[in-house]
């Protein structure tokens, strides 16, 4: 009997591993395609039939970071004295746009990428911090009308952004928050905090009160108990919440588009803008996308052990 079970288990495990590999292929194929396109020469990006094998190039990344215009027929260019990265662009039938003083004009990508980092990191930190303490408050203390307050918090995320955008824009203009990093940080924090509260409450509810009460008996203050007992136990939840909040803030499009101009613009509205010159350069869109995926992927990978540790010790419910 025992051998049969273990054989069955091993078989089950093997089937599961097979299915995980299949899932990896299905979920990663489109991303692999984007990643491959990021290194393709432009003329192989959209072909009939699709091109799978090719010699990789860095030209999409050079183009991503520079402002370019198409070469006109018979336009004279100084190919010989151009540095290698400029030749790449010239080979692609474009020249790098220059300022009046002859400096290379960078595209909007680098500054927007930096703005994205500032806004997403700060707002994620704030949303997770506020979400965690508020969830703890709701979880451990009696709050009159708790269910209604929680529902209110949830409801702040229900209005479609297109509706909130106009009044929000007017409000921001009135207080001078439009086109500032702070404005976007506040906006994304507000947007994410409802999610953070709900998710964190789900996790903190699962941590037995007995742990803190034991600590209180041992002479901890409530604050100490929160920081030293509850927070470590809630690490999985915090990690998951942080990942989700970061992803939302990192990729937000509608408000970033409407609320910001030159100073505080983030990258998401910029990446698809490469379709504007009559023929999209898919390789540049792909390189912009791939590069933009890296910070979130790294962030998630670093938190993976927390994400997977699970909700610890056992007694999920009393």
């Amino acid at each position: 009997m025992a051998t049969v079970t273990s054989y069955g288990q091993r078989l089950g495990n093997r089937v599961a591993v097979g299915m995980i590999i299949l899932a990896l292929i299905v979920f990663l194929a489109p991303i692999a395609w984007i990643g491959a396109t990021a290194f393709k020469p432009r003329n192989l990006a959209t072909t009939v039939p699709p091109t799978i094998f090719f010699a990789p190039e860095v030209s999409p990344f050079v183009k991503l970071f520079t402002k370019r215009v198409q070469l006109k027929p018979n336009e004279k260019v100084d190919y010989e004295s151009a540095p290698w990265w400029e030749r790449i662009v010239l080979d692609g039938g474009e020249r790098i746009s220059r300022t009046g003083r002859g400096e290379v004009q960078l595209s909007g990508y680098p500054s927007r990428f930096l703005n994205s980092l500032i806004v997403a990191i700060t707002s994620t930190f704030l949303a997770v911090a506020m979400g965690t303490i508020t969830a703890y408050g709701f979880s451990r203390f009696k709050v009159k009308g708790e269910a209604d307050w929680l529902f209110f918090i949830l409801s702040t995320r229900m209005l479609p952004p297109v509706v909130v955008a106009i009044p929000m824009f007017l409000m921001y203009r009135a207080v001078g928050l439009n086109d500032t990093h702070l404005g976007l940080i506040i906006l994304y924090t507000a947007f994410n905090v409802s999610f953070a509260v709900w998710l964190m409450k789900g996790f903190i509810d699962e941590i037995p009160r007995e742990y803190e009460e034991a600590a209180l008996v041992d002479g901890y203050t409530r604050m100490e108990a929160f920081f030293k007992i509850v927070l470590p136990e809630a690490a999985t939840g915090i990690a998951a919440t942080a990942v989700f909040c970061f992803i939302t803030a990192w990729n937000e499009y509608a408000f970033a588009l409407i609320m910001t101009n030159r100073r505080a613009q983030t990258a998401p509205p910029f990446i698809p803008s490469q379709v504007g010159s009559g023929l999209p350069d898919w390789t540049v869109i792909a390189s912009g996308t791939a590069l933009f995926l890296l910070p979130v992927a790294i962030f998630t990978f670093l938190l993976r052990n927390h994400l997977l540790r699970g909700m610890s010790f056992g007694a999920i419910r009393k």
Binding site: V69, P73, G93, S97, G100, F169, L170, A264, P272, G276
Partner: protein, 436 residues
């Protein structure tokens, strides 16, 4: 912890501060993200070299251009001093006071004699024939066609075509020929198709595509002065035009249900279609061998004539306007004054802009500069545009809701479709108290 807090507060303060600093002697022009905007930036660099005034061209993707511009206008924002706006916006932007009235500027600087008449009419004047001007024509544009020269000049194809249709295979001069050639090259088994047209109904693409048929067939959207639409948009000529557009769709490549300038250009570069409609502004990509492997084999022609010899194309393009809420209006006017000079316009054309300057357009230098400039020059004197009233977007929505299912889904007859559209438009005009 305190250090962290201090750092955060200092950081936030810095953002706030950087958010409010405004440099003098600086102008911001807003436009969509495309090559002409980059050319304009290069032109503006020369202005900076001459005057010391720094001009920045700020851009946003085409799909968001209208949204972003009007959100800023409606909140009376001063982020942009000048804007290169679509011709349909004239009504909305002038009636709501977003644009500075340039009538006096136009008269004082004799702009009317400098720019091609059609461009003043469609990019600058509102309401029609009122003599009030709101913009300076900047980027002239209209719909033209590209085609595969190598397919058209293949001896076997030419012989087969002649045998089947009784005349020589050549770039079409009438819509009947356009349809014949589309049918001739429609070969799904070879993954080759006849024609690429606009079908995207998320904004104005489908309307612009259909207009090419409508105007050349002698149809009209309606009476631009009285807002009468019944009997015009659903006239027999308009119905014939819609039939023609539906017919063309049947010769389009598969999956041709949300197509605009990108897809239509790709139809040429990826060997999908024999002919493709597109704005002239997107043709530079087709003569560039790096972006179009068929660049040497791509030719261009103007929108063909209809059965009665009418020949018009749908207008694109933009004029530059001064934003009413700008804090640098005087500087902006100075820039415009510089922009309309003949030398500047010549330079603008040289950089790649589609100038609207009469002198430059008529010069042989310009007309021979590219394979499509001649077709562009001819077309710019034969253009018509969509409604420019403030509620044009509602008119567009109605057109999309009626015409899209007819073209792409093959639903209903053309007469039914356009009767319904006429009724929709009549209701919209009634709602805003126009006509009647």
């Amino acid at each position: 912890m305190r250090m962290l807090t201090k750092g955060l507060v200092a950081g936030l303060g810095l953002f706030m501060w950087s958010g409010t600093s405004v440099l003098a002697q600086e102008l911001t022009i807003f436009w969509a993200e495309w090559d002409p905007a980059n050319y304009l930036q290069e032109l503006a660099n020369e202005y900076e070299a001459q005057t010391g005034v720094k001009v920045t061209v700020e851009t946003t993707p085409w799909a968001d251009f209208q949204t972003k511009a009007f959100t800023e206008f409606n909140a009376q924002g001063s982020a942009y001093d000048l804007i290169v706006g679509d011709s349909q916006w004239l009504g909305a932007a002038s009636e709501a006071g977003h644009y500075v009235d340039l009538t006096d500027f136009v008269k004082e600087n004799d702009v009317l004699s400098k720019m091609a008449p059609a461009t003043m009419k469609f990019y600058a004047e509102y309401p029609g024939n009122s003599g009030k001007y709101w913009s300076i024509p900047t980027e002239g544009d209209a719909v033209g066609w590209s085609y595969r020269k190598d397919w058209f000049t293949d001896p076997a194809e030419m012989a087969n075509f002649k045998a089947k249709y009784g005349y020589d295979l050549a770039p079409p001069t009438t819509w009947a020929q356009l349809t014949d050639i589309s049918e001739f090259f429609y070969r799904p088994d070879q993954k080759r198709y006849g024609v690429a047209i606009y079908t995207d109904n998320s904004y104005d693409a489908l309307a612009m595509g259909f207009e090419n048929a409508l105007f050349s067939y002698g149809g009209e959207l309606g009476d631009m002065a009285t807002y009468k639409v019944d009997g015009m948009i659903n006239s027999p000529k308009a119905v014939a035009a819609l039939d023609a557009y539906k017919k063309l769709y049947s010769f389009a490549p598969p999956g041709w249900a949300k197509t605009f300038f990108v897809e239509d250009n790709q139809a040429i570069t990826e060997n999908l279609a024999a002919m493709s409609m597109n704005y002239f502004a997107f043709f530079p990509a087709l003569i560039n061998p790096a972006s179009n492997p068929n660049a040497a084999n791509t030719g261009f022609f103007a929108n063909p004539a209809g059965p009665d010899g009418d020949q018009y194309a749908a207008l694109g393009g933009q004029g530059i306007s001064v934003v009413s809420y700008s804090q640098n209006k005087e500087e902006a006017m100075k820039f415009l004054k510089w922009f309309i000079q003949d030398d500047t316009q010549k330079e603008w054309a040289k950089l790649g802009g589609y100038t609207c300057s009469k002198a430059v357009l008529e010069s042989s230098e310009f007309r021979n500069a590219t394979p499509y400039n001649e077709a562009f020059y001819q077309t710019m004197f034969k253009v018509k545009d969509f409604w420019a009233v403030p509620e044009y977007a509602e008119l567009l929505t109605a057109l999309n809701q009626r015409v899209y299912p007819a073209v792409v889904g093959g639903q209903g007859t053309s007469q039914e479709t356009l009767d319904a559209l006429a009724a929709d438009w009549k209701a919209i005009f009634a709602k805003y108290g126009r006509g009647n």
